[in-house]
């Protein structure tokens, strides 16, 4: 199913007060941030989206896909599930090699065409994962020995290439050990709709808009300014630089100097 637009129709907050917007439209290829303190309703909003709510959840919000509500079966049939989820807990629990694991996921998703095409896809997933993480992943490695950064990178690359979910929810992803901006760019390239709960400025300032949560309701919508995007780029550059130095430390090298030469506003 091709998804061009997702709309959130206003519901109500914790004290029953109605949200002060009619509807919020989000288009394919856009990133939307969700910000606010603990208990402000961020997870509930993600839940409403994941359920493709039609007024039955406690907020009474409605989610429309391409301007229309979706059918009941469509919501719960796993093979038709259109929402992907990246949670805070990102560890693999399966005792298997990277290659075997990806192969079984590709088969599960019905994407196995031929031995050769599957092999190429596996290589592509690992190559892209390796652009996100500093430590190289090899397809013969066991999933359980992957570091946090490697696990996150592999999951994101897998999400981009294998899972067909056109809508992705990301709940407070940790950026330790990964080039977080390249990771999101990889997902965006696939034309997905992304929702991010995050206060990480690299991510939050690189979205198209941020939904500000308070007392269970969407209180405000901030459209990201060009200046904010510039700041996000600069911070991303620093993050990637830290990652490079981290690799040097891992390799057992002595760090002689800080090479902080960059143009803050570069894209």
């Amino acid at each position: 199913m091709k998804i061009d637009k997702l709309s959130i129709l206003a519901g109500k907050g914790k004290n029953g007060s109605k949200e002060k917007f009619g509807s919020i439209d989000i288009f394919a290829g856009q990133k939307t941030g969700i910000v606010g303190p603990t208990g402000s309703g961020k997870s509930q909003l993600l839940y409403d989206i994941e359920k493709i709510a039609s007024g039955e959840t406690k907020t009474g919000r409605k989610i429309l896909i391409n301007g229309k509500p979706v059918g009941k079966n469509f919501k719960i049939d796993p093979s038709q599930k259109i929402i992907g989820y990246l949670t805070q807990h990102m560890n693999f629990m399966t005792d298997s090699s990277v290659k075997d694991f990806l192969e079984s996921h590709i088969k599960t998703r019905g994407k196995h065409r031929s031995k050769k095409s599957t092999e190429q896809l596996i290589d592509k997933i690992i190559d892209d994962a390796n652009t996100i993480t500093g430590e190289k992943i090899d397809k013969g490695m066991n999933l359980l020995i992957l570091s946090g950064g490697q696990s996150r990178a592999l999951m994101i690359s897998d999400l981009a290439h294998v899972s067909e979910s056109p809508i992705i929810l990301i709940d407070e992803i940790e950026n330790a050990g990964i080039r977080i901006k390249s990771a999101l760019d990889l997902l965006i390239k696939k034309g997905k709709i992304i929702f991010l709960v995050t206060h990480d400025p690299i991510l939050a300032l690189d979205t198209d808009k941020r939904l500000v949560m308070k007392s269970g309701a969407i209180k405000n919508i901030i459209y990201t300014s060009i200046k904010e995007r510039g700041i996000a780029n600069y911070l991303s550059w620093i993050n990637n630089y830290i990652l490079d130095v981290r690799e040097e430390v891992r390799k057992g090298k002595q760090i002689e100097e800080l090479k902080l030469i960059c143009t803050p506003m570069e894209a």
Partner: protein, 264 residues
């Protein structure tokens, strides 16, 4: 009246899931029963949280699923005023399950608990499978696990991702409960449970083939004559415990009022 049986191994998140389900069904008059092997406090927790009627049933020596099946008629009889009986049980050996055709069978399945193909009727005969702890693993692993569950369950089984912390999935399960049939007349098990199959089931402690056979024959002949209702009139919690005591020489056969009536 509706009868819903929620089964799952210990630690799979049954009770957490049930709390959110009860929350969604607050308009119904619910009776909650917890079956466990040794002990449980869940009936107190649920009573305190929701103010509904609850009870605990401890199976002791008997397989908890056999025991649940034996107790179901009594529970229905004494709760005729209720809209819904919610029965939670920890199916242990995975060979049995007390699911019935006339009600709704829910299996709470921990996504970290190994291959779905090694589960028996507890999973394969369920109408609803609530997958828990999915937030601890990756989307890819969840998808692979889910497709393995689909392979072993019957067509039309509802698969719900259920989160014991946020209550995700509770709405879908509550709706399945609302749509489940009313209990009327005869109740039948979905799965014929294995019977007592060897001398050890009758309390044999000697690891020896001849002893086991002897014990099995004696136990089986006794088992054939007693009503197997676990009525408790003999002073033992279950018929099996009574049989063991008789075989051990610790109790007389005529302690059982039914054997006594036979005129021994």
């Amino acid at each position: 009246m509706k009868l819903v049986i929620v089964g799952g191994t210990p630690g799979s998140g049954k009770t957490s899931a049930i709390k959110f389900i009860i929350q969604e069904l607050k308009d119904l008059n619910i009776h909650y029963v917890k079956f466990d092997v040794l002990n449980t406090e869940d009936h107190i927790l649920i009573k305190e949280k929701f103010g509904i009627s609850t009870e605990k049933k401890i199976s002791g020596d008997v397989c908890p699923d056999h025991y649940a099946a034996l107790e179901i008629p009594k529970i229905i009889e004494s709760n005729k005023d209720k809209d819904l009986i919610l029965l939670e049980t920890a199916g242990l050996c995975l060979r049995c399950s007390p699911y019935i055709h006339e009600g709704l069978a829910i299996n709470v399945l921990n996504i970290l608990s190994g291959k779905p193909s090694s589960y028996g009727p507890l999973l394969t005969q369920a109408d609803v499978v609530a997958l828990t702890k999915g937030d601890l693993i990756s989307q890819a692993e969840r998808e692979i696990f889910r497709s393995e569950v689909v392979k072993v369950t019957e067509k039309g089984t509802l698969l719900v991702e259920s989160n014991g912390l946020t209550g995700e999935g509770a709405i879908d399960i509550a709706e399945a409960i609302r749509n489940s049939p009313e209990i009327r007349g005869k109740i039948t098990l979905k799965h014929a449970m294995p019977t007592a199959v060897c001398g050890y089931c009758y309390g044999n402690k000697t690891v020896d083939s001849d002893e086991t056979l002897k014990r099995y024959k004696l136990g089986k002949s006794l088992k054939a004559r007693i009503p197997n209702r676990n009525c408790g009139k003999c002073g033992f919690a279950s018929c099996n415990e009574f049989i063991r005591a008789v075989l051990d020489g610790k109790a007389k056969e005529n302690k059982c009022p039914f054997l006594k009536a036979e005129g021994i």
